[in-house]
Amino acid sequence: MTMHEPYYLSLQRRKWLTSLARRYPQRRSIALPAVWAVQYDWGFIPAPAIEEIAEVVGITPAAVREIVTFYSMFREAPVGRYLIGVCGTLSCALCGAEGLLDYLQEKLGIKPGETTPDGLFSLEVMMCLGACAWAPAMLVNQRIHVRLTRTRVDEILAWCRENA
């Protein structure tokens, strides 16, 4: 068997994973952190990365694939520079989440699951984001935005465009 050269998981990432593995009693516990690492660096989990992750973690490629497909935040295809996840669950839905989603679709010209042609924005409906008391809420990449209004959404989209 040929060992994979560091490609999807850089040397630096591998070093970090090795030091993290020392804090867990079993090495396979770094499976989720390893998949996260690939997603941070590549934006999604490219199919050929699966074998490399499996090798680094010490589990089968099937076990990695199982993880990638089970956890909904892991993506198997690339998304835009900014992934907008609108919370669609009850508390947000009571406080205008449907209107927020409509507004984003109108502003971006895409439906949930799609990416704008310039590759800047992807839109998704997410399950409860834990910002229920500050509804409606959405996640833009890693950042939560709460108590959204049309003006606030305009500001956020403008900021994204400027900083892309």
């Binding site: 998949v35 993880i67 049309r150």
Partner: protein, 438 residues
């Protein structure tokens, strides 16, 4: 009647995500300056682990995650003669719809949580604790990792905690978008690097949990509360609440109230006080239609239940459960079929697929509710909605399927006429949206 002059202990006035009267509390020095880690110091130097367990037992503290199991009793289930290491897992997966109480602890009071974890780990003899945080809480993960680094550099975590023989490492483990991982045994699988499928019990985690070793799993709010309990004594804590529901708790109030937020209050508070005094009443002073008192997994209550005491036993008496104490409020504009469909959609998405009754049943519940809400319902559908829960409940490895049935069953019980009207008229009789997006 409860005295509302109660001064919050855990969140000292953090009602909104934006307010934070002590923003520097997320840093070690400021926390230490205000007396932080003094309780841990006192515990390590003057108490035995057994004394800590007794103190928590006496406080009447019950789990704040949802099930409400007495914390001290849970700790007591650990085998006494095991040669295996003991693990402590702090559940920060907070994904129950309506619940946003652990977020401010993780993001704004990280050292309070670390102190609580450290005291609890000492009590149960654990030297490795895992803090599982849901993947969507990027900021919380960052704050907690930084706080752990700080605490380690200051000798509060690591080999000799505060100069004693006690050693402790705390590892933050990030989830990746799976509600089911908030279920304790699914969480253990997730930490072990597997998919989050719940495990069959027995064996219970206290006997055979993480990596097959004795494990205790407690919620973030539960472990944070261990600090004031050890600091001020179990009697103080217990006396705030009721006989069977000791202490105070954080109620996340969301939906159609004037001032939604996290309200920390003694567990003698009534639903009316929570909604009308703390959260300011219903928006535009409209009538209250329904309330979910413990996150979307518990049965719905109505305006007739406003005098319910928000203690475990009080809410149970009213026919629901206190769960995670997330209070979701509906005014009279809300269609209960629409609300039930929204919740069914959530459970359909989050069912892990391990057990057939839940995987299939949650999909059916959604499909039927969607049909009724969009005007294509049939009268037989109501029988189906009543029948499906009997095929799910108690037939699966975990309680997710049961949780999915709660809103449907209670919705039909209190608002059956609304379901019938949808079918008779072939459309939803309510006007939408309930809140304009402006």
């Amino acid at each position: 009647m409860l005295d509302l002059q109660y001064k919050p202990v855990l969140l000292d006035g953090v009602v909104d995500l934006a307010d934070n009267p002590t923003p520097d509390a997320e840093w070690f020095d400021a926390y230490r300056r205000r007396g932080g880690y003094r309780t841990l110091e006192k515990v390590l130097h003057t108490m035995t682990p057994a004394e800590v367990v007794e103190c928590v037992k006496a406080s009447g503290l019950r789990g704040r995650g949802g099930a409400g199991f007495p914390t001290g009793v849970k700790w007591g289930f650990l085998p006494k003669d095991s040669k295996l290491p003991v693990y402590l897992v702090c559940n920060g997966d907070e994904s129950e719809p309506g619940t946003c109480k652990d977020r401010p602890i993780l993001e704004q009071r990280p050292h309070l949580l670390l102190e609580g974890i450290a005291i609890s780990a000492y009590a149960i003899g654990s030297h490795t604790a895992f803090l599982y945080i849901r993947g969507e809480y990027f900021h919380a993960i960052e704050v907690m990792n930084r706080a752990i680094e700080e605490a380690r550099a200051r000798g509060v975590l690591g080999l000799h905690v505060l100069g004693t023989d006690f050693s402790l490492d705390i590892v933050v483990h990030s989830g990746a978008g799976a509600y089911i991982c908030g279920e304790e045994s699914a969480m253990l699988n997730s930490i072990e690097g597997r998919v989050g499928w719940p495990r069959l019990r027995p064996p219970f985690p206290a006997q055979k949990g993480l990596y097959g070793c004795p494990t205790i799993i407690n919620n973030v709010e539960t472990l944070a509360k261990v600090v004031p309990i050890l600091e001020r004594g179990p009697e103080w804590f217990h006396s705030l609440g009721t006989e069977r529901s000791g202490g105070f708790r954080i109620y996340s109030v969301s939906g159609h109230v004037k001032r939604p937020g996290n309200y920390e209050a003694p567990m003698r508070i009534t639903l009316r006080q929570l909604i009308y005094d703390l959260a300011g009443g219903i928006r535009d002073d409209r009538p209250l239609k329904a309330v979910i008192p413990g996150g979307s997994s518990v049965p719905i209550l109505t305006a007739d239940h406003l005098d319910t005491q928000m203690s475990f036993e009080g809410v149970e008496e009213a026919g629901s459960l206190l769960g995670s104490a997330a209070t979701i409020v509906f005014d009279d504009t809300v269609c209960m079929v629409w609300a039930a469909r929204n919740m069914a959609q959530f459970y359909r998405h989050e069912s892990c697929g391990q057990c057939t009754p839940c995987r299939q049943g949650t999909a059916w519940l959604y499909k039927i509710l969607d049909r009724i809400e969009s005007g294509r319902g049939r009268l037989e559908d109501l029988d189906l909605l009543q029948n499906i829960p009997t095929k799910i409940e108690g037939r699966c490895v975990c309680a997710l399927g049961d949780a999915a049935c709660a809103a449907v069953k209670s919705g039909l019980h209190y608002f059956r006429r609304e379901f019938e009207q949808h079918i008779e008229r072939g459309r939803c009789p309510f006007e939408k949206p309930y809140t304009q997006f402006v």
